[in-house]
């Protein structure tokens, strides 16, 4: 299991830091980052690959999990850490059938992710539609941006 962590917010330093990590990722090929690999061979990483979005109210995590039944996915939140567990099971095939292609991977998966800010664990929701998992993690009230008025 791997834990991804962000430190800090969207300031210029964390952006540079992120760029640095993107470069590292491209160089080491640990994650299937976007862009094409120079060697031409597909890179291998953790399953499922995640896309994360931020709309200031909440974080949104997307994962492509085709063939995984929603009932076979287990999502839990502890503090700021989101854990996705599940299993993709082989379709039932009659005895004596012959396989011509077997490209779809089957097996268990588990991934954890630590978000950079406090989230409200009680308000986390998830849905899975057409093989795409979407998890919505609202920020905790204390982590939301607040405008402070200056008293005169």
């Amino acid at each position: 299991m791997a834990v991804i962590r962000w430190l800090g917010n969207d300031d210029v330093f964390s952006r540079l830091d992120r760029m640095q990590r993107d470069m590292d990722r491209l160089a080491t090929g640990m994650f299937p980052a976007f862009g094409s690999d120079l060697s031409g061979s597909p890179r291998v990483g953790l399953y499922p690959p995640l896309n994360i979005f931020d709309d200031s109210e909440s974080f949104k995590v997307h994962a492509e999990v085709p063939g995984v039944k929603p009932s076979d996915i287990d999502i839990s939140v502890t503090g700021n850490t989101l854990t996705i567990r599940g299993e993709r099971t082989m379709p039932s095939v009659p005895e004596g059938a012959s396989w011509h292609r077997r490209e779809r991977q089957m097996g268990r998966f588990r991934r954890s992710l630590t978000l950079p800010e406090q989230i409200d664990a009680s308000k986390v929701s998830a849905r899975c539609e057409n093989g795409v998992l979407e998890i919505l993690l609202p920020r905790a009230e204390s982590a939301k941006q607040r405008k402070i008025e200056i008293k005169v």
């Binding site: 299937p32 063939g67 299993e87 089957m106």
Partner: protein, 133 residues
């Protein structure tokens, strides 16, 4: 299979379709979907991973023994991307059907982002004995 023997899954980067030759007139990237193909005495079954495609976005076309599966997938219009490990795009793959299949009876269903195609085999021709008068 016990818990320990079960394989841990890994992610393989999506394979984008290279448009060498003819230029694509459609926008967006197309990927080669992963597929499982199983043959029994009665039929050939294909499982094609097309995550994100709705039923009305998948097209199945048969032309001269070539089955083409195309799935359009709209990338989400998002706020601020914070971290990205995969790109969203459509899928396309072609399969050559043998002569022994019944093209009229091909059935398809979409289940949790997987297109399941069942291609029944044509009934073998019964040998017919011709009596000499």
């Amino acid at each position: 299979m016990t818990e320990k023997e079960k394989k841990e899954m890994e992610t393989t980067e999506k394979k984008a379709i290279e448009r060498s030759g003819a230029e694509s007139t459609r926008e967006g990237v197309l990927y080669v979907p992963d597929v499982d193909i199983v043959e029994t005495d009665e039929a050939i079954t294909l499982w094609v991973d097309v995550p994100g495609a709705r039923r009305d976005q998948v097209d199945i076309d048969i032309n001269e023994n070539v089955l083409t599966l195309t799935a359009r997938v709209e990338p989400p219009a998002w706020e601020r991307p914070l971290y990205r490990e995969y790109d969203v795009g459509g899928f396309e793959r072609r399969f050559t059907l043998g002569e022994k299949v019944d093209q009229e009876k091909i059935s398809a269903k979409l289940e949790d982002g997987v297109m399941i195609l069942t291609v029944p085999k044509a009934a073998p021709h019964e040998p017919r004995k011709i009596a000499i008068a």
